[in-house]
């Protein structure tokens, strides 16, 4: 009996040992009908060199005229490619350019009837990598399936979509909708049946520059160039193969980059490489890797005031708080000098940025004077001002997920303390943070930074309810009209004039405070170059000009 039990145990232990020597697990991509070459491409990195792709034989690159190392780019990513790497294999219906404006891509749009009707024309000759043509039916399916899961506003007012012919689709809305082009730049073109009802893509056959040949969920993905890619201008010149390696831990990602197991960190996310500033500071000093910033004109970390309720419903107090904040101290302490203070919500050179000199200032003396003039006085000598018998202690709500956020909050608190305003910090996990902000239970909270003037204002500027990031920016009812006119206009001068009014209102009302910016950083080895980092292509990875030189 005992011998039998021992034998069973030994056999039980041998099974996993044996399995370990076997090939890696079946991939979800294979099962879901992703383009495969029929053989498993190894995601393993031989030390010191990017993937050899050992054993891989791809239908997309049957003859390899050069060493695979010379045309294989290895990206280190925080998450699976299905998160923010979709555009390697899938194209969006419209293209977002440098200024976040949407331009024709797979479709062009013609609005009619005061933006209640759009005729979409499909660019002829586009096919999926398996040869399936892109038609109006395909576009309709893509919109129907993916739009609800993409947070696109037109979903609420879309009445019908009618296929007129192979390349023409008509969309009818119950109310004028000006932002369709921008919305369509977030909708991917997928084959019918490629997604579930919840908008989860399960078939990665696309029209993009690459074809998915192997996918190990949460581990790696391998792509090979799509020889039938329709966009000649964006066709990858040098990078014929991409290996996407998931490395969730920051230290491990940096080690992999240093060891050249990966070529670059950052293209996988709209937030860039996401390396802590202290690590970034060290990297820049050591010079072991190349550090690039996506755009010189960063969007600042921003705090929102609860300008509707509570202490900060008083504009004089909002002004006093704004003048009190020492942004340079934040830059020095948080970003190790990499960042820069910002006194405006958008950089001066951003499109439709304030052009009449509107900005905020840092001046603690002005802050104290504003407080005194508004009746905020420290009557009991405890260092905190009061008004109407109430001590002014602001509730600052921030996220706890990142040490940077907590440090910013502490420095904000210190700046306020210097002028006599109290501040209690609640650093919360995401769900708890959203509960507080959605309920308006804050005086100051972390806010999503301005992306571009048009994109941000036409969504946040017309919102007035509390939300995940504080509250909407609809300071006056006219913002709704301005937003519609901005979306409808094609005249930059007209749009700029409208934004002049928007900025005048915002900078007079002090609804929020910009703090500092640091640019979005990307890291790569000295063996690769030519990455296109643009503000407008957030979530869109462009490897068309990347050069690999293994030297």
């Amino acid at each position: 009996m005992k011998k039998l039990i021992c034998l069973i145990l030994i056999l039980a232990l041998c099974l996993p040992l044996a399995a370990c020597g076997a090939k890696k697990a079946e991939t979800a991509g294979d099962a879901s009908g992703a383009q495969t070459s029929g053989t498993q491409t190894s995601g393993t990195q031989s030390s010191g060199a990017p993937a050899q792709g050992s054993g891989a034989q791809s239908g997309a690159s049957e003859t390899a005229p050069q060493d695979p190392e010379d045309y294989t780019l290895v990206l280190g990513a925080k998450a699976d490619f299905t998160n923010e790497g979709k555009n390697l294999v899938l194209d969006t219906l419209m293209w977002r350019d440098n200024s976040y404006e949407a331009s024709p891509y797979i479709v062009t749009t013609e609005p009619e009837n005061n933006y209640t009707k759009y005729t979409l024309k499909v660019t002829p000759g586009i096919t999926f990598s398996d040869g399936t043509p892109v038609t109006a039916e395909v576009v309709k399916y893509s919109i129907e399936t993916l739009a609800p899961a993409s947070n696109l506003g037109f979903v609420a007012t879309l009445e019908s979509m009618d296929v007129v012919d192979d390349l023409t689709l008509v969309m009818n809305f119950s109310a004028p909708y000006m932002g369709l082009n921008y919305n369509l730049s977030y909708v991917y073109c997928i084959k019918p049946g490629a997604a579930t009802a919840e908008g989860n893509i399960t078939d990665w056959t696309g029209t993009g520059a690459y074809v998915l040949v192997d996918h190990q969920p949460d581990t790696s993905a391998t792509f090979e160039v799509n020889e039938s890619f329709w966009n000649e201008a964006k066709k990858p010149q040098n990078v014929k193969k991409v290996i996407w390696k998931v490395i969730p831990e920051e230290s491990a990602r940096l080690m992999a980059l240093e060891k050249k197991e990966v070529d670059a960190l950052g293209p996988d996310s709209h937030a860039g490489a996401g390396i802590s500033y202290s690590a970034l500071n060290d990297l820049m000093k050591e010079g072991k890797v190349e550090v690039e910033f996506r755009n010189e004109s960063g969007s600042p970390n921003t705090y929102m005031y609860n300008w509707k309720n509570g202490f900060l419903a008083d504009i004089e107090l909002r002004k006093a708080v704004t003048y009190a904040i020492d942004r340079q101290a934040m830059v020095d302490a948080v970003t190790y000098g990499i960042g820069y203070p910002m006194y405006t919500f958008l950089a001066d050179d951003a499109q439709y940025a304030p052009r009449n000199g509107e900005h905020f200032d840092f001046d603690p003396e002005v802050s104290r004077k504003l407080l005194a003039d508004a009746g905020y006085v420290d009557t009991n000598g405890d260092g905190i001002v009061e008004k109407d018998g109430k001590k002014v202690v602001l509730q600052l709500v921030t996220l706890s997920s990142n040490e940077t956020y907590r440090t910013i909050a502490i420095l904000f608190q210190e700046s306020l303390a210097a002028v006599g305003i109290g501040c209690e910090i609640s650093a919360l996990e995401t769900t708890a943070f959203r509960e507080r902000t959605n309920a308006g239970d804050f005086d100051v909270c972390m806010c999503h930074p301005w992306t571009t003037a048009v994109a941000y204002f036409t969504t946040q500027g017309v919102a007035e309810a509390y939300n995940n990031w504080g509250t909407g920016w609809r300071l006056i009812p006219e913002f709704v009209d301005y937003s519609e006119r901005i979306l409808a206009s094609t005249d930059p001068n007209e749009i700029q004039s409208l934004f002049d009014k928007v900025w005048a209102e915002i900078y007079a009302d002090y609804p929020a405070i910009p703090l500092f910016a640091a640019g979005i950083h990307y890291l790569h080895t000295d063996e690769v170059s030519g990455f296109i980092w643009t503000r407008g292509t957030s979530n869109l990875i462009d490897l068309s000009e990347v050069v690999i030189d293994r030297g």
Partner: protein
């Protein structure tokens, strides 16, 4: 050996697993955060969500129904062998589990083996060489292993063995080699308590009357130890090893994160963060079943090793 008690235990365990799934669902449902909102935020990078779109998405997911309709739907589908599909990926839960449990199982087995070899081996050595250098060194090693945070050890191992010595890849999951470092880290961490327990058990048993008697009867030291003492320390060791295995199969989030392993721990944590109900409930149920199997094996081993347990079972009859 009677099969009835084991079958009874399995049935009770299954019912317990279902009950646990109900409690889990209840806690999830009552916890803050709307699943549709969390799902969309996760997909779209924490942007501000359109209310109408959110409502429509909740309808598609089916998360706008009440507590009992939602649980009932899931329960009925489980009875048909369908654990549902992930809200986040769209893949069947059973497939997601299958893709990841292999890694977690292998990691758990290897690390437990390392813990066992290190823990029992050093524990015995330490007890047999009591108060000598090896005993002191083992106790120091055990203290350090238990004190050093696992994540720190993991990063240190990665830096030394993968970067400096270039013996292992930093990030890949491709066979046995990828599991050596993480297994070592978990094994060393887990061996600490096993060393202590083994040492104490051996010392206790060495001072027992039966050992003195055996020696008095002329049995060699080795025979006394292997034939008698070792058997008596097996029970607590089996208990600890089973607990360790169960805990490791649950997934070690930190280790999976640092070594980029596609295990269940990280995946389940992500599912919890975004309230992916089908995944959470499915994983709870499936892991519950694995736990049942492991504890049943442990029970069989107890029965096989310890005649007092066998006798106890017969006496009840």
């Amino acid at each position: 050996m009677k099969a009835v008690p084991i079958i009874k235990k399995i049935i009770i365990s299954l019912l317990t697993a279902l009950f646990v799934s109900f409690i889990t669902f209840g806690l999830l449902y009552l916890s803050p955060g709307d699943p549709a909102e969390m799902m969309l935020s996760n997909k779209l990078g924490n942007t501000v969500l359109n209310t109408e779109v959110l409502q429509k998405y909740a309808e598609i997911l089916g998360t706008n129904k009440g507590f009992f309709p939602m649980y009932k739907n899931w329960f009925v589908s489980v009875l048909h062998g369908d654990l549902g599909t992930s809200y986040n990926t769209g893949y069947p839960v059973i497939k997601e589990f299958g893709l990841r449990i292999g890694c977690s199982l292998r990691l758990a087995v290897f690390s437990t083996l390392i813990s066992l070899v290190l823990g029992v081996g050093l524990g015995i050595l330490s007890a047999r060489r009591r108060n000598r250098f090896i005993d002191r060194a083992t106790r120091i090693f055990s203290s350090i292993s238990i004190s050093v945070p696992t994540f720190w050890m993991a990063i240190l191992f990665l830096w030394v063995f993968a970067v400096k010595l270039d013996l292992f890849p930093i990030s890949s999951y491709d066979g046995f080699k990828s599991l050596i470092l993480p297994s070592l880290v978990m094994g060393i961490s887990g061996s600490a308590s096993l060393i202590r327990v083994t040492r104490i058990c051996v010392l206790d048993n060495l001072s027992e009357g039966y050992v003195v008697t055996a020696r008095a009867r002329g049995l060699s030291d080795r025979r006394v130890f292997v034939g008698h003492v070792l058997k008596n320390i097996l029970l607590p060791v089996i208990t600890m090893v089973t607990s360790s295995l169960i805990a490791h199969i649950g997934g070690s989030v930190i280790i999976e994160n640092i070594f980029s392993l596609p295990g269940t721990g990280n995946y389940l944590l992500r599912a919890i963060r975004i309230k992916d109900y089908p995944v959470i409930l499915g994983f709870v149920l499936l892991k519950g079943m694995i736990v049942i199997v492991l504890t049943t094996i442990a029970d069989i081993l107890y029965y096989a090793i310890d005649p007092r347990i066998r006798q106890g079972m017969y006496e009840k009859k």
